[in-house]
């Protein structure tokens, strides 16, 4: 077995036992990047090989000297390109920020560095995280490692594809309406969206501030949990971070699921769900039941209004957040302006792509005079009802289990010209963001057409440990999901 094929659990054990060095692991990973990038295109920027290997060698030296090591010491990690990295381009997949180099690190990135992780590069994404396929990147489309003719999902499609293809064992993404979980499901990796407020948004380029959270990806549940532990916790630089202490997300207690109540929301199995996705999810539920959990049907009555409420709230917040791109302080500036207003208009129109403009327009409309009550306020009220549905469910169950997405990865080009059909692919993921809950996607087998299917596990606020417990128990019973063949 090649080093790049190892899961995080195997890497941690191997580094500890001295079976291989961080330098050997990192070389294997970088060779893999060189080999598969022409097919996958997961990265926007890969750092200089010499610098990366020097950091790996330094991690090995720390270990050899018996110095205190961070939890991710010497482990290569990729970071989505909307998370600020000091001195390293952070493009957000946009022409607007094509040449932007942040003067500071996001809190999540500085915590990664403190934990000893080695930053490999920045991953491709839908522009400003707006999209579900990575096709809205201004630079290139990322291809699904399971089938290069299909999308990796989005908007953290680059991170998901990089982990699935063995280009890195761990990656950060961001999840505003499913942007970690959906691509994780499409690419056959584990993807976690933590409770709103669990991870600092400082340095995460803002899209929809009441929904955005940085999340983690890994081939195995242990890797996603360890990465989340490294970046979680209150941050004085983000007043929306939660003061709740960060517990160990994975404990060794409870290899079975005895005494645990699992709810299956009926509405997630309605029309539009691919039968072969439903079948894999039901198989997984059988395994979860066999591990000792009790499984019961529950209801999230407002599920079907989630998409409309989500896109209204997200677009409204985006239209306000993206007002900062004015061609003055950073980002694209037009060469064709005669006055200040023209500078704003032309810089924005040249710098933003079609989907970003669409969202800004919808959000501006929803917030404009005469429409605020009808659209934005109404959506925020529906959001309350949806959050109550979940609160009620968690009175009787510990976790909810459902499909991550209604289908497996769709073909490149299939939905890119039909915004509404693209939006509908997020139907099972957006309610969690609206309610601020933690959720993850763990691979649960292949569809009849040989594509990965994601199993979504949702917990109540700040109850990540129970969500990880279910995910790991399932993973142990089903086996860690394989890497894509033939890449």
């Amino acid at each position: 077995m090649k080093l790049y094929e190892l899961t995080f659990s195997q890497i941690r054990a191997g580094l500890l036992e001295g079976d291989f060095s961080s330098r050997e692991l990192t070389e294997s990973v970088l060779d893999r990047v060189e080999r598969v990038e022409p097919t996958v295109s997961a990265f926007v920027t890969v750092r200089d090989r010499g610098e990366i290997l020097a950091e790996a060698a330094a991690a090995d030296a720390r270990r050899a000297a018996g110095k205190r090591q961070g939890a991710l010491c010497g482990v290569p990690v990729a970071v989505k390109d909307n998370i600020s990295t000091r001195g390293l381009a952070t493009t957000c997949g946009s022409r607007m920020l094509e040449s932007y180099v942040p003067p500071y690190d996001a809190t999540a990135v500085s915590r990664l560095r403190d934990a000893g992780a080695i930053l490999v590069g920045k991953t491709n994404m839908d522009e400003f995280a707006m999209g579900s396929s990575n096709e809205n990147s201004a630079f290139c489309a990322t291809h699904n490692p399971w089938d290069a003719g299909r999308v990796p999902g989005g908007s953290s499609g680059g991170s998901a594809a990089a982990v699935a293809a063995g280009e890195v064992p761990l990656a950060l993404g961001s999840d505003t309406g499913g942007s970690v979980r959906q691509p994780a499901g499409f690419c056959g990796v584990v993807g976690v969206k933590p409770t709103y407020g669990r991870v600092s948004r400082y340095g995460l380029v803002a899209f929809a501030s009441s929904l955005d959270q940085i999340g983690t990806m890994s081939r195995d549940v242990a890797g996603a949990a360890a990465l989340l532990e490294a970046i979680a916790g209150e941050d004085p630089r983000d007043s929306t971070t939660a003061a709740e202490p960060v517990p160990p997300f994975l404990s060794d207690a409870g290899v079975d699921l005895k005494g645990l109540a699992v709810g299956v929301p009926d509405e997630y199995f309605s029309d539009g769900l691919d039968p072969s996705v439903a079948e894999r999810v039901r198989d997984a539920l059988e395994i979860i039941r066999s591990l000792g959990a009790s499984v019961q049907t529950i209801s999230i009555p407002h599920l079907r209004f989630g998409i409309a409420a989500y896109y209204l709230v997200a677009d409204a917040e985006a239209s306000a957040n993206l007002a900062r791109y004015d061609g003055v302080k950073y980002g694209h500036r037009t060469d064709h302006a005669e006055d200040l207003d023209g500078l704003y208009r032309m810089s924005r129109s040249e710098g933003f792509g079609a989907e970003v403009k669409r969202r800004i327009m919808m959000g501006t409309y929803a917030l404009s005079a005469g429409y605020y009550d009808q659209y934005y306020l109404k959506a925020q009220k529906v959001r309350t009802l949806l959050a109550r549905d979940f609160e009620k469910a968690f009175e009787s169950v510990d976790v909810l289990v459902a499909p991550t997405s209604p289908t497996t990865a769709f073909a490149l080009g299939e939905r890119v010209h039909d915004p509404v059909s693209m939006y509908l692919s997020d139907v099972y993921t957006v309610p969690v963001n609206l309610a601020g809950l933690p959720a993850l996607s763990v691979p649960c087998g292949l569809s009849t057409s040989g594509l990965p299917v994601g199993l979504q596990i949702v917990a109540d606020k700040f109850r990540e440990p129970v969500m990880f417990r279910v995910a790991r128990a399932y993973e142990r019973a089903a086996g860690v999901f394989p890497a894509p063949p033939g890449l």
Binding site: V101, P103, G197, Y311, K329, H332, R358, T364, A379, G436
Partner: protein, 97 residues
């Protein structure tokens, strides 16, 4: 309720975006498609329901009024498209005469 091309032009002005005539026509159709999706919310009875502007019920957070780390001007201005000394330069706002 459908929007017309004139509405789209107005919103584009508010959003500081410029569209060609063709783009405006195409966008009017798209916007109506998306609005039809939003119209579904009308089915939901929200009488007496509080809007959920935030999901965590946390009080306002203050820090001490003490100077923290600051970016040196050269770093803050490093990404500026046009710089004049320690300032961002823009086209003249007031007439020159």
């Amino acid at each position: 309720m459908a929007v017309e091309k004139g509405d789209v032009e107005h919103v584009a002005t508010l959003a500081r975006l410029a569209f060609t005539e063709e783009e405006l026509v195409a966008f009017t159709t798209e916007m109506n498609g998306i609005l039809a999706l939003f119209e579904e919310l009308k089915e939901v009875d929200t009488d007496g329901v509080e809007p959920a502007f935030r999901v965590l019920r946390r009080r306002n957070v203050f820090r001490g009024d003490e100077p923290g780390e600051m970016l040196p001007p050269d770093e803050a201005l490093a990404n500026a498209p046009d710089r004049h000394e320690d300032a961002f330069r823009v086209p003249a706002v007031l007439p020159n005469d």
